[in-house]
């Protein structure tokens, strides 16, 4: 986490936006032409840019993020293997900047999941059956709320059923207690120095 990280989420209750596609890659989440920034903010405007906007620059009405309700939803529900592809942390930055605080899928790509957790965006991987139930319920009642509880590691679906999800214990501890990972690593200085004194450098770039 960094100085710019959002406040930790303990519980979150929100309506959802559903983007049912599988294997959504980070080039879709934030196309590479928007990576020429030296900051972290302002990327929400370009979130899913090429899916949101057509060739003429007009919003595609059928795209879920263009619905009038989208701006109020803090949870994005997507298909399996969300965030595959590049390591760009601009992807979670863009999702957060747009207003999302949690993602629900059945699985996330490794680097994306790591990046999300470090920026305060919670990736929630449900079982395939719970995910399917959620999609069914949202198809019936698109504005029904879902509650995510990081403390108990459960998601409460619109029908009131509770479903457990896994989060790395350390990431959970950091998110719940506002522990800063870089601060934690800086605190390992003595152990790192011992390692360096017993393992010689393999290369020297300078």
């Amino acid at each position: 986490m960094s100085a710019e990280t959002l406040e930790p989420i303990v519980t979150l209750t929100s309506t959802c936006i559903v983007l049912p596609a599988e294997n959504v890659d980070t080039d879709q989440i934030i196309p590479a032409r928007f990576l020429k920034t030296i900051g972290r903010r302002g990327l929400g405007e370009h979130l899913f840019a090429d899916w949101r906007v057509d060739e003429k620059g007009l919003p595609r009405p059928e795209f879920p993020l263009n619905s009038p309700e989208a701006r109020d939803s803090a949870i994005l529900v997507a298909g399996h293997n969300f965030g595959c592809g590049s390591s760009r942390e601009h992807a979670p930055w863009a999702l957060i900047d747009y207003g999302f605080r949690a993602l629900i899928s059945t699985g996330f790509a490794d680097i994306f999941r790591n990046n999300a957790l470090k920026t305060g965006l919670l990736p929630v991987a449900l079982t395939t059956s719970a995910h399917a139930m959620l999609l069914d319920q949202l198809a019936e009642s698109p504005r029904a709320p879902v509650t995510i509880d990081l403390e108990t590691q459960t998601a409460t679906l619109p029908d009131g059923t509770l479903h457990a999800f896994a989060v790395d214990p350390f990431a959970r501890h950091c998110l719940l207690n506002g522990v800063d990972e870089l601060g934690f690593l800086l605190g390992q200085d003595a152990a790192i120095a011992v390692y360096e004194s017993t393992h010689s450098s393999r290369v020297c770039t300078s």
């Binding site: 100085a3 596609a21 890659d25 680097i111 470090k118 214990p169 870089l182 790192i192 360096e196 290369v203």
Partner: protein
């Protein structure tokens, strides 16, 4: 002592602190590669905290993603894009302030980060290597544990030379036998990704084994490891051998004298022990492979070049059917059609997957005495200035130029389309790069991933062509 895989040996050797249930391992990083796109926010974070770079001597920066590849004028590259220019300037400022060596646009060693590490002899067996770029897996070709990280983690490594990591699982991909003519490393990796799927290796470090892998040169091994991430893998590894040592020997940052001897004896132990256990193993027979090409919008959507585009109706699940449907619509392809003879607008030879000297030699061998077909634009983008110089010394630049191709400056170029090199909406390209995601090579552009041989055969034909039957 228990038998360990190559991955486990490298992992064990880099634990500053082993993992526990509550805390990931603190893993030491031997080499940190930095580029302009994923580092500015990390340096800003260090500044916010008043932190220094712990080991500038284990860090190297280059400029590659947003750099122009248009020919130099009076020896200088002109960066016309003001945003890209500001980002490049920021990297120079950051490297100056924090004492990091930078191969900038005026440096004769500048190039794609995953080309220059190996080329300079910085990438060596047994090391841990990270970079804010998912194709860091490339360096695994040397038996180094190398993986991509996000910008927060770039900051962690700058400040502490360590990362918090959970130990990934370990999967073996074995390819035995002899490759048929016209089939290259690129075809092997595309076949592997098609077999295990776009997320099939998530959470795993892959180790590529078998006689077909042993027979490959280092640049071909890099092509294989480069695309490990396209199956979702954390990293890809190939155990070092004489081929590896011969490649590293004599390079600018390689060890010499007694240090070289010590390195060789260390590298000798870097193999998976007989009887070591992988979490999963996958086998392919080299003799059954053909030149591969992608038809869809992720790298696992690939077929043998003389195959047929699959029918979404035959997909095994509803989700897969939807995915395929969407991909074929985007690519403007019909189920069951052959890709051979499918017209293209652009051919791109380049990227960290296929821009090294052997790739350029392969493409040039096809182009020699032939001409790029009318209406087709072919870009050849060497991976580094070193590769460019070497190619020019061999006359490859003349072969490409005489054939009507563009011979350009080093960089990522049309692989990521950040620098102005891009497809126009609706254009199709055969590309030697690594990603065919929607819009990857330019908004609305359609990408067919293939080997340098297939790319060159396509360029001279004007349509997707099979190198094995090129007249």
């Amino acid at each position: 002592m228990t038998q360990r895989t190559l991955f486990e040996k490298i992992w064990d050797d880099h634990q500053v602190r082993p993992e526990s249930e509550s805390t990931p391992a603190v893993l030491y990083v031997d080499l940190h590669l930095v580029h302009e796109v994923t580092s500015p926010q990390a340096f800003a974070e260090l500044r916010n905290r008043g932190a220094r770079v712990r080991r500038p001597d284990l860090t190297l920066a280059t400029m590659d993603h947003s750099t122009p590849t248009t020919p130099r004028s009076a020896g200088r590259l002109q960066v016309l894009d003001t945003q890209a220019s500001a980002q490049l300037d920021q990297l120079a400022t950051n490297c100056g302030e924090f004492g990091i060596r930078l191969f900038d646009l005026d440096d004769s060693r500048q190039g794609i980060v995953h080309v220059i590490g190996p080329e300079q002899g910085l990438t060596q067996p047994g090391m841990t290597i990270v970079c804010g770029d998912s194709h860091t897996s490339t360096h695994g070709a040397f038996g180094a544990l190398a993986f991509g990280i996000g910008t927060s983690e770039v900051g962690y490594v700058l400040a502490t030379q360590t990362l918090l990591q959970r130990k990934p699982r370990n999967m073996e991909v074995r390819i035995d036998g002899v490759l048929p003519s016209g089939v290259t490393a690129k075809d092997i990796i595309l076949a592997i990704i098609a077999k295990i799927g776009i997320g099939g290796a998530t959470g795993n470090v892959l180790e590529y084994t078998g006689s077909a892998i042993r027979a490959l040169g280092m640049e071909e091994r890099m092509t294989i490891c480069n695309m490990s991430i396209e199956a979702g893998a954390r990293a890809g590894l190939i155990a070092p051998d004489d081929t590896t040592a011969n490649y590293v020997s004599g390079r600018p940052f390689a060890p010499v004298g007694a240090e070289w001897d010590a390195a060789l004896s260390r590298w000798d132990k870097l193999t998976s022990d007989e009887g070591a256990r992988y979490d999963r193993s996958v086998h392919l027979e080299a003799k059954s492979l053909a030149p591969m090409i992608t038809f869809g919008t992720n790298p696992s959507m690939a077929i043998p070049i003389d195959g047929r585009v699959p029918d979404p109706a035959a997909a095994s699940s509803g989700a897969e059917r939807t995915d395929l449907d969407k991909a074929l619509r985007y690519m403007a392809l019909e189920p069951g059609q052959s890709l051979l003879g499918h017209a293209v607008d652009v051919v791109f030879v380049g990227s960290c997957t296929n821009s090294r000297i052997s790739d350029l030699r392969q493409a040039a061998a096809v182009m020699r005495g032939r001409h790029v077909a009318p209406g087709v634009r072919m870009l050849v983008v060497p991976g580094s200035r070193t590769v460019k110089t070497e190619a020019e010394a061999e006359g490859l630049d003349r072969v490409f130029k005489e054939a009507g191709a563009e011979w350009r400056e080093a960089g990522c170029s049309m692989c990521i389309a950040m620098n102005g090199d891009q497809l126009r909406p609706g254009e199709s390209a055969v590309s030697t790069s690594n990603r065919n995601f929607e819009g990857r090579q330019g908004k609305g552009g359609r990408t067919f991933l293939a080997s340098p041989l297939t790319a060159a055969a396509t360029a001279v034909t004007g349509a997707i062509a099979d190198i094995r039957t090129l007249s």
